[in-house]
Symmetry: C2
């Protein structure tokens, strides 16, 4: 690095033109006479000028041309969790197309998250509200930048958000299995409330704090009741979306005389873990047990058998979210997006 970094003003002086002209050479080359332009560029190169500093420029312009994606999770979450990954890949794609930068901001501990959000150089945020959504929304609000919440577990209508139709999607999933002839189900739920794992009853579902999980449960019930299956007869086990809790749940669900012939998993992650457990247990999927997931992550299509699931239109979600943030045209109402049933090899009629 040259010691005293070269500024635009230095180049201008060395080239014998005004700073205004020098600036034009870089940001509006068409307006300056070719002769002069070449001379200035020449001088710049000779001096080793690195081009207009972004900070100076953006101070003037006020736009960073980047958006931040935030979550109340360690940063590694973005690369580990299949859902987050699928979503980010989609967001990336959209950003790529529009030449927008992407910054990852997150932290598990509140203080750091606060600071990270405050200091992220972005024009707006996409919030991944899987957990601790309100905290995130609140922090982001203070920043006074446009933002849109994804997968928000909160019914506050003043928060711009895009979510999928959890209730409707879950209903379709359950109906799919019921129509195949299944009558004995087991549900593996994503988080309903903080710090709880284990079997849950109807009352717990109804007062769940995470609406995503709650709505999916309600959707399952709704569809199954149309087939004469009472909600009391559908065991639900709350997991925290990880291997140990999912396996504990399966252990319980399959410890009864008449175990389920179909598993309703509230996430593909859970579904994939379930399939592994079932096979290790000597049960074949889908012959012995059918499994349906929720989310539609790419991994679901790459295993054998393929995972039947309710697919979120990640590309569409990403497109809308990025657009909303960039144009500061956050939806005034909560937007709802449909999920679609993708049938692969993990579901079939019961034996």
């Amino acid at each position: 690095m040259a010691k005293g970094t070269i500024r635009l003003a230095d180049v201008a002086k060395a080239a014998g033109v005004s700073q205004g002209t020098a600036s034009n050479v870089f940001s509006r080359p068409d307006v300056v006479r070719e002769e002069v332009r070449e001379h200035v560029l020449e001088t710049a190169k000779r001096l080793g000028y690195a081009g207009p500093s972004l900070t100076g420029r953006l101070l003037r312009a006020g736009k960073v041309n980047a958006i931040g994606v935030a979550a109340v999770e360690p940063l590694a979450y973005f690369f580990d969790d299949p859902w987050a990954r699928a979503l980010l890949a989609a967001v990336s794609q959209v950003c790529d197309a529009s030449g927008t930068g992407l910054a990852l901001v997150s932290a598990k501990d509140r203080q750091k998250l606060d600071w990270n959000i405050k200091s992220a150089l972005v024009d707006g945020f996409i919030l991944l509200c899987v957990e601790g959504g309100e905290k995130l929304v609140q922090l982001t609000r203070e920043r006074q930048l446009p933002f849109v919440a994804l997968a928000l577990n909160d019914d506050d209508p003043s928060i711009a958000s895009i979510s999928v139709d959890n209730l409707g999607g879950a209903a379709i999933a359950a109906r799919h299995l019921a129509e195949l002839g299944h009558r004995r189900f087991g549900v593996l739920a994503t988080e309903l409330s903080d710090d709880h794992v284990g079997p849950v009853g109807i009352a717990e579902i109804e007062r769940a704090i995470y609406s995503t999980s709650r709505d999916r449960a309600l959707g399952y019930w709704q569809a199954l009741e149309a087939f004469g299956i009472r909600r009391e007869d559908v065991p639900i086990y709350e997991t925290i979306n990880d291997k140990p809790s999912v396996e504990a749940g399966l252990e319980l669900l399959f410890s009864v005389p008449e175990p389920p012939t179909a598993i309703l998993a509230m996430s593909d992650n859970i579904a994939l873990l379930a399939i592994n457990w079932l096979r290790a247990r000597g049960l074949s999927v889908p012959q012995d047990v059918s499994v349906i997931g929720f989310d539609g992550v790419p991994e679901g299509g790459m295993v054998e058998p393929g995972l039947t699931t309710m697919a979120q239109p990640f590309a569409e979600i990403a497109r809308r979210a990025v657009k909303a943030v960039l144009e500061d045209a956050v939806p005034t109402e909560r937007e709802m997006i449909e999920v679609t049933l993708v049938v692969r090899g993990s579901t079939a009629p019961p034996r």
Copy 2:
């Protein structure tokens, strides 16, 4: 958004203090009398001041407090490729700890990449040079920011880089299998040169443009020759690290009368694909065929059987890279890091 956004100056005026004092209230609260401080904060809140604007602040400070990770790939690469993911997760961790932001910059097409690199608001770059490394290095150089290249396929000593000991690691991998008693090997290589897939001979290896792949091949050879296995007798198939090319390679390797009893895969990704193919083909791993990977991505530990591999110390690599970039203390020489053999279930003595 309030129309005329509120500036620090506005708050200062409204509170009846100088701008300097107002600034201190936010950035050095201890220096201003409590009474005044509270009054200013109060006024700020009343006016809806969002806190010191970052752009103004950073213009002054010159530091963005963020680093960029760049690759010549579509942005989604960061979330799809296991190696990139593992590395980024590690980088995330380090950044998290030091309160540094993380920006992803990339593009497959050169023009966009150029622009993205030029306009990324970061203090420095970590370059993922899996492919098109020189291009990336060149572009980044122009930006005149500190950077360090990872997995660089180039021997130019003027480029600060951190790489793993590909030759030594590969030798350990091959030795591990040879010591188990294997004598018939097949190699599934990562890219050796652009736009080529298929079996390769000794000459192609020696003039490969990607030194990572070349060195791994050399390492395999070196170790195997110590066991009396000639390089001519080790078939090598070049893939592009994806499913179709890996399967084509396996198809070929196993189409001979005496197929290999051990597969040397130059990436875990390839190894995992290989294991799937072998099983689908009715061959059990490790009983019929042993497979060893390279990289040590987390997925390798989560499958059944676990993948034996040469693990890169991702955390260490990330730590050094981030440190180098942040402190503008890029290694003057090319740093080399050792990889370690992690033995899991995918390797065993031959039948």
